[in-house]
Symmetry: C2
Subunit: 400 residues, 2 copies
DNA sequence: GCGTAATAGTTCAGTCGTACAACTAATGCG
DNA sequence: CGCATTAGTTGTACGACTGAACTATTACGC
């Protein structure tokens, strides 16, 4: 298994590092790599120079390094209708360096490999029921799946840059510890070693946080906003905060617990001990019950029910109220609804937007937007793999 | 008036700037300046080299530049008990480059000048009543005060690096526009030109945000935390989010509106139109009424009343509830209470902490702290001046 | 009192990375 | 077929950091 684990280190950008000559090179390598990666139409070396402000000579040497490292590929020179020597288009290298997204959730586990172009190279998703499961067994199984997938892409010459393990619970990305994952019935354990993936650089993260990152992947028709609140509605309701295309994690990454914002202290008791949490109005089970369906009914049955004219006023207003608090506290005006909410949005939107307009103080001055998540199913797998690749992009010098 | 206005520009650190040779110099100048500034005991050139990892030769030239620019001063060489050539201690230069903090609030306006050592060089605070006041007149008056103060320090050879104008309302630091300041009765205006301060670099900011920055000024007995939620309780309740010693502003700086987090939708109607906002329980007027005092009674009378055995259970629990939402959404575990809350903390703490422990999901795994603000009165003046000086520190090359 | 060790600070050649300008390469057009 | 045009490369100059050698200044022991 060709992996590059130990060498991966996040670059200290504003940190206490002294800047030397090679710091320039690292910084400009990143700049050039981002220019190649984050542009709709492929750029030539000259185009990159214009876009970055670097001299053409400098760009040439930098691009050559990126090509040699396998991070950038040259397309055949395109002799367009314009005069002059034809430009060599530069594009992200497909199937070279890849990121691995892993996830254990209540009803499935899976692994997904993305390459630098954003393509899914391979994926394996196994449905199951992992409510109150045994972490050692489940993570061992996911580890085996990951090895299988990883060995497969390695056999085709790709390099796995690292992996992210998404879990639905309180995890600290810094220490790698899982404090508690209520819906899995897991607590106080270190998940990464249980995967048995050797020296591959695997980091844990909260599922909703990584799902939010998947929204940035682009490729969809609607451009992803740079800053948004991502809310993932399921049995529990989790959220993530993205500002300037980066996750805002607070001190330990334990933020976005919008499911337990109080909507009405006179409301029903919540599993967390408080009364009237959002989850009691807009959690999947509450929504099902309100619609007269069994708590564990599939989402499709609810959608069918709603299509016949039913409504979700309580859930919509409660969600709007909690989101209004969120926006008032954070000033992030775009809200992306994921998980079950994506499909339910048509029946939630009016109530959510009405409450937001009423309750957000800045509403008269801001264009508040509520939109559906664009990333497909198991978004955390995509987001995790994407985060790995973002790390490559942030420090290409480690690959040169 | 010796000012340096137009030249001030925030350095694009991670931004799309190409890194050149002089970028290294700028970065390392900042590094050296911070090493000199953010250390309890003065460092020598050799000490700075050890602290930063730069070569002694490099540090020498950088320090020489900072000394020439008047940002750093050399103390007489101290011939301590140690062998070897005595070290020259380097300290922030007093009374050289200074920052100007300005503020209009409901009951006062003022100007305060801080130098790089954190000392207050001069200040002028004028009590008054600016409820429903005329912005042109009031800002004109503050501008005159600012010129007076500014000319005074300039006459003593100091350079005013810039100014911050703190206002109690929705302001956008980027555009310099004030949308609305309810307690002043101001709306939709551009405050800076009304000050008439010529080409001095003046930026606006929300009062609570700048007051939060004052907490970082140090000098107090208790070390300021790097990340905290600052809540300023007065007629209105505002908050600021500080993460890693920097303000988190969201998209426009309109965050921290904790006063309008819903505590109980069955509660009293709020001026914002909603029901049961925190302000209706823990705003100054609500607290006064609950204590049986007139809504505009001075804080001292309330404290006297409480000292005789009265309590603030509603306010404490409501504040705890809103803060629990805040912490659940943000994961910032230290809460600093400012404004009127600083003095009221003894009667609020038990209720606030009890509700936080109950309602914050991560409470079992985190040491939640509630503490009183350390900065003195008119903290926004100090915070504003401090932010100006932080800007100098972040880009000393502009002064070389 | 003086030599030695120790520490601070400076000087200078070496190296590295970028800029600029001149050059080569490859195309379209008249 | 030559010229204008654009892409990419080569070579020199310059700026900034490093490391080692050097100077400056003290403490300490004999």
């Amino acid at each position: 298994m060709t992996t590059a684990g130990t060498a991966r280190e996040t670059t200290t950008r504003t940190g206490p590092g002294a800047a030397r000559q090679h710091t320039l090179r690292e910084r400009n390598l990143e700049l050039v790599a981002r220019a190649v990666y984050e542009v709709p139409e492929p750029l030539s070396r000259a185009g990159v120079a214009a876009a970055t402000g670097l001299a053409r000579a400098t760009v040439s040497t930098l691009v050559d390094q990126l090509v040699a490292a396998g991070l950038v590929r040259e397309l055949p020179a395109v002799t367009g209708g314009r005069a002059g020597r034809p430009a060599v288009p530069l594009v992200p290298a497909p199937r070279s360096v890849v990121g691995l997204g892993l996830e254990v959730n209540v009803d499935y586990l899976g692994a997904r490999v993305l390459d630098l172009t954003g393509d899914v190279v391979v994926e394996q998703v196994v449905p199951g029921s992992f409510h109150d499961s045994d972490p050692t067994a489940v993570l061992g199984r996911l580890g085996a799946l990951a090895r299988e997938v990883s060995d497969g892409v390695a056999a085709e010459g790709m390099t796995v840059a690292g992996a992210r393990l998404a879990l639905p619970g309180l995890v600290d990305p810094r220490t790698g510890l899982l404090e508690v994952a209520p819906n899995l019935g897991w607590s106080s354990l270190e998940p990464v070693p249980l995967l048995g993936l050797g020296d591959l650089d695997v980091r844990v993260a909260n599922e909703a946080k990584l799902a939010a990152l998947a929204e940035l992947a682009g490729g969809s028709d609607v451009a992803a906003p740079d800053s948004f609140i991502f809310v993932s509605g399921d049995v529990g309701i989790g959220a993530a905060i993205v500002v300037d295309r980066e996750l805002f994690l607070g001190e330990r990454g334990w933020n976005g617990e919008i499911g337990h914002v109080v909507v009405d202290p006179a409301g029903p008791r919540c599993s967390c001990g408080a009364f009237g949490c959002l989850e009691q109005y807009a959690g999947k089970e509450a929504i099902m019950r309100a619609a007269g369906l069994p708590a564990d009914a599939p989402l499709d049955s609810l959608v069918a029910h709603l299509a016949e004219g039913a409504a979700l006023p309580d859930a919509g207003r409660a969600l709007g109220s909690a989101l209004a608090d969120f926006v008032n506290l954070l000033d992030v005006g775009t809200i992306v609804l994921g998980g079950a909410y994506t499909e339910l949005l048509p029946w939630l939107r009016a109530d959510v937007e009405a409450v937001l307009d009423d309750r957000v103080l800045a509403a008269p001055f801001v264009d508040l937007q509520v939109r559906a998540a664009q990333a497909g199913p198991q978004a955390a797998l995509t987001g995790g793999a994407r985060e790995v690749l973002q790390g490559v992009l942030a420090d290409p010098s480690a690959w040169v």
